[in-house]
């Protein structure tokens, strides 16, 4: 935690420095690409001046009787009692306002007054090309004229200069505005914060108060610390060039409807993101993500997750914390990555959990660290194959073992029941003979328990790019072949190693621009080998927990998967995909024998490959655009067994997501 705190302090210091000195603005767009979501219709418009050095960011304070924002075109149109005040030191009033946020220029027209420290001038219209530091003005003194202000110098206009042909153009808008309001603060190239804002749903106005539209080129605003949800309606309450505060109204099948909050602080080389989710449920996840890039070769990041079970902000009944630390150092043709994970499954301390006594929960702090060197992918000379190698070294430390923490042993007995010892440590750490003294008659304990396991990892990837299998004249008759192979060894400090082989082949063909079909075959082989001993056969052969097919399992699994995928996208706003898979695995999947993987919060399994997966599954997915900025994604997977369990199948619920686009 101290490391995280230090990183956070470092971030705050950097953020403060950036706040004091405005950072360089993103490179303004040149004349050629009209930097707009919807370019101007005047394709014959006169060319605009060339940009030079990046201008400083400008704040534009706008108030008007009515302000409309068009999200799909990033246009702001305002009418009635328009007042514009800019951080460049002047104020403009007029009848109408128009701004293209992507072109980064605005115009005020009709009974215009331009006021700055040198005085006030009346005119018909004024247009400020912010990226180019040119202001075009049509003053009306004794008669109209044309003035151009250069580089922010309002005292010395260049009179009579020819102006760009589209300097005073109003965009054509016919659709309903996305947001309306009476005030806006515009941070050029980054954000707009509306006041008295309303948005519209089925033509009904929804008051928002303050709402921020962020269109910053800084991709760190992409970072989020919230989990997935079926529906997420985001209300950006506040924000500026370096921050964004959002309230989320969400729905998912686990927590149903709830509110969440997320706060972004973003700089050019760093970010800090905090969230609490859900805020309106007793189970709360507090997340903090930090990132800092130091120089051109090194970056460090952390992600801390704190879970608390508490009503509102009352004293929690349970609390856990996990922190991930990552650092990367870039080398000319490879890079080093150090990862670490620190966990505290009970931050409340002794006596914090429920009955029966004061030793609730495990107070151990498991940890893990790994350093890995990874090469770039290099093409093997003379072959259409790329290779990549990696090697890592690290350890896992855990004095108790997974499964102990979430149950809160030894405080999880039924109230008033008889006390018993914790469940035995499962898996690798229990590698040992049965203990001479068994604390329980229910479970078997093994000694010794290995609390720290060191490991060395080595692996490589081989893969091809798409290889043409034929060369027909019609490109839609072309077949492409892809293959990839991964081999990995992991040697542990126990006399034990794991090797895995993963082979993938696929052949695909695009039958048309909209229809794509592929067939893939995957072999995943995992061997969990011990120098001395190892896996034992299951006991009570012939029972549901030890079917005959499972008795030969000795720690080596083979999973063969044949896949048929079909993607049909007849329209950019509609997609349909179907994935049908057949698994031919060892150990043979037997219904009810193996545990199923846990699902994520929206109902999707966390693992895509696991022992006991049903031999057949089919997933259908439909995506359709339902609103101008929303996509509906519905998917469902069916699982079924062949003989002799052909009557066993199940179909989890639909996974539904509304995705903002």
């Amino acid at each position: 935690m101290s490391v995280t705190l230090a990183a956070f302090m470092l971030f705050l210091a950097r953020a403060a420095a950036h706040a004091a000195t405005p950072g360089p603005s993103p490179t303004p767009t040149s004349v050629a690409p009209q930097a707009s979501a919807a370019p101007t219709p005047q394709s014959t418009a006169a060319p605009t001046p060339q940009s030079t050095a990046p201008p400083p960011r400008t704040l534009v304070y706008l108030s008007a009787k009515n302000i409309d924002f068009y999200y799909n075109r990033f246009l702001i149109e305002a009418d009635g009692n328009v007042t514009v005040r800019t951080s460049d030191g002047f104020t403009v009033t007029g009848d109408a306002f128009s701004m293209d946020l992507k072109l980064n220029r605005f115009m005020v027209a009709g009974n215009v007054t331009l006021h700055d420290s040198t005085g006030t001038v009346s005119g018909a219209a004024i247009s400020d090309f912010l990226d180019f530091r040119r202001i075009y003005f049509v003053p009306v003194t004794s008669a109209p004229d044309r003035w151009t202000f250069l580089d922010g110098d309002l005292a010395h206009p260049a009179k009579g200069r020819v102006m760009p042909g589209d300097a005073f153009y109003f965009p054509l808008v016919s659709e309903h505005p996305s947001i309306t309001g009476t005030g806006a603060v515009i941070g050029t190239n980054t954000y707009v914060r509306f006041t008295n804002a309303r948005t519209y749903f089925l033509n009904a106005g929804v008051p928002l108060g303050s709402y921020v539209v962020n269109f910053s080129p800084n991709q760190f605003f992409a970072q989020n610390t919230l989990s997935g949800a079926t529906v997420d309606l985001t209300w950006n309450v506040a924000g500026n060039t370096n921050s964004l505060s959002a309230v989320h109204l969400r729905y998912d099948p686990t927590y149903h409807t709830y509110l969440s909050f997320e706060q972004h602080f973003v700089g050019d080389h760093e970010y800090a993101i905090f969230s609490v989710n859900p805020t309106t449920r007793a189970e709360k996840w507090w997340n903090l993500a930090l990132y800092e890039k130091l120089g051109s070769r090194f970056q460090i990041s952390s992600f801390t997750q704190y879970y608390s079970q508490q009503n509102f902000l009352q004293a929690p009944r349970a609390a856990q914390q996990t922190t991930f630390l990552n650092a990367t150092y870039a080398l000319p043709h490879s890079y080093l990555t150090a990862t670490s994970q620190l966990t505290n499954y009970n931050t409340l301390g002794p006596g914090s959990l429920e009955v029966p006594d004061a030793l609730g929960g495990s107070l151990n702090h498991p940890s893990q660290a790994q350093i890995t060197a990874t090469s770039f992918a290099n093409k093997i000379p003379g072959l259409p194959i790329f290779e990549q190698i990696y090697e890592g070294y690290g350890f896992n430390h855990d004095s108790v073992g997974a499964g102990q923490y979430l149950n809160g042993f030894p405080g999880f007995w039924p109230e008033g029941g008889r006390t018993f010892a914790p469940i035995p440590v499962p898996g690798l750490q229990a590698y040992g003979a049965p203990c001479q003294v068994q604390p329980s008659k229910v479970f078997t304990y093994y000694c010794p328990v290995y609390t720290t396991i060191w490991n060395t990892v080595f692996g490589f990837n081989l893969y091809t790019q798409s290889l043409k299998l034929n060369h027909p004249e019609n490109p839609y008759q072309t077949y492409y072949f892809n293959a990839s192979y991964n081999k990995q060894y992991q040697w542990n400090s126990l006399p034990h190693w794991i090797n895995s082989d993963n082979v993938n082949f696929s052949i695909n063909r695009a039958f048309s621009r909209s229809l794509n079909v592929y067939v893939a075959y995957q072999i995943l082989n995992v061997g969990d080998h011990y120098i001395h001993g190892g896996y034992l056969p299951c006991a009570n052969v012939g029972t549901p927990l030890c079917p005959l097919s499972f008795t030969s399992f000795r720690g080596v699994s083979t999973q063969r998967t044949t896949s048929l995928g079909i993607n049909e996208a007849p329209h950019p706003e509609f997609n349909f995909s179907l994935l049908v898979r057949h698994h031919d695995d060892f150990p043979i999947p037997v219904p009810g024998l193996f545990g199923l993987p846990p699902n994520n919060i929206i109902g999707q399994p966390l693992y895509t490959s696991y022992l006991g997966q049903a031999p057949y599954d089919a997933t259908g997915e439909v995506r359709v655009k339902i609103l101008s900025h929303a996509l509906l994604d519905v998917s469902r997977t069916f699982y079924w067994y062949g003989n002799p369990y052909r009557t066993t199948f199940w179909q989890p619920s639909f996974v539904v997501q509304v995705l903002p686009i």
């Binding site: 009848d95 269109f215 923490y405 990839s484 966390l606």
Partner: protein, 286 residues
């Protein structure tokens, strides 16, 4: 005869006078109407006659529309360049006339001066200089297909998304479809001239793509050119959360237990943990 010649002369004179004084009509959008001038979005201001007639452009009758910014107008100029009639409409009017024909009527105190900023676009580039682009875009809808090659260790059922600055960097803005073992694809419609920045991700904070050197990469930039269809091919070298050999990070809200690195976490409870030697009574290797 003389009388006939005089009549013809008078008629010819009348025709000439009528031709010389025929009103000029142009249509366009108003920028302002103030101080005895009417301004169009070309930036030109024209004198307005004191008794100007203001009518409805569609009916030709009286109108409640007042000349103001954004209003569409059909202006009638008299021979002196004064606007004598304005026909107004809230919707665009059919193009009529040419503002180049009335530019000499525009009132300006200063004489026109060339603009060096604009001349840069048509100057011949000097030695060692590249030509300044002067391409413009029609704004037509263009089908853009994104095809991305992902790392070979990308989980087979992973969802791949494109996140863009057009959607506020929403991590799930554009979902893609797998087309083979290494590639995903999606087609979207954009207007030509659109410029945006984008990155690929697997739907969350931890799963954004990183550069080939493992560091966070800057967003890709793309300008949609005028075309019927465009194809954009990219390569993702690594994901932030699952590089080769790295430790996978769980998604938020999943409390991890990675400290027991056994490869088969869901073995039935009937299987005892691996042991260094078989229990007494069983043959070695059984």
């Amino acid at each position: 005869m003389t009388q006939r010649i005089l009549c013809l002369a008078a008629l010819a004179l009348a025709i000439v006078l009528l031709a010389a004084g025929s009103p000029v009509v142009v249509s366009g959008q108003l920028l302002a109407y103030q101080d005895g001038f009417v301004f169009f979005t070309t930036g030109d201001g024209f004198h307005v006659a004191p008794n100007i007639a203001i009518r409805d452009a569609k009916t030709g009758g009286p109108t409640t529309i007042k000349p103001a910014p954004r209003i569409w107008a059909r202006a009638t100029f008299d021979p002196s360049g004064t606007v004598t009639e304005l026909d107004l409409s809230h919707s665009p009017l059919p193009p009529q006339g040419n503002f180049a024909d009335v530019a000499h009527f525009a009132v300006a105190l200063s004489s026109p001066v060339p603009n060096p900023d604009l001349l840069k676009n048509i100057q011949t580039p000097g030695p060692g200089e590249s030509a300044v682009a002067s391409q413009t875009f029609s704004g037509r809808p263009v089908l853009v297909t994104f095809i991305v090659q992902v790392p070979p260790y990308t989980p087979f059922t992973s969802s791949i998304y494109i996140t863009t600055d057009q959607s506020g960097w929403n991590a799930q803005a554009i979902p893609m479809d797998r087309v083979d073992a290494l590639h995903y694809q999606i087609t979207r419609r954009f207007n030509s001239g659109t410029i945006f920045r984008y990155l690929y991700d697997r739907g969350s904070l931890q799963s954004q793509e990183v550069a080939q050197n493992g560091l966070t990469r800057p967003p890709r930039s793309f300008v949609v050119a005028d075309a019927d269809v465009l194809t954009r091919r990219d390569t993702v070298y690594a994901w932030q959360d699952s590089g080769p050999g790295s430790v996978n990070q769980p998604q938020p809200q999943i409390m991890p237990t990675p400290y027991n690195p056994a490869p088969f976490p869901n073995l039935p409870i009937s299987v005892p943990p691996p042991q260094p030697q078989p229990p007494p009574g069983r043959p070695p290797g059984y």
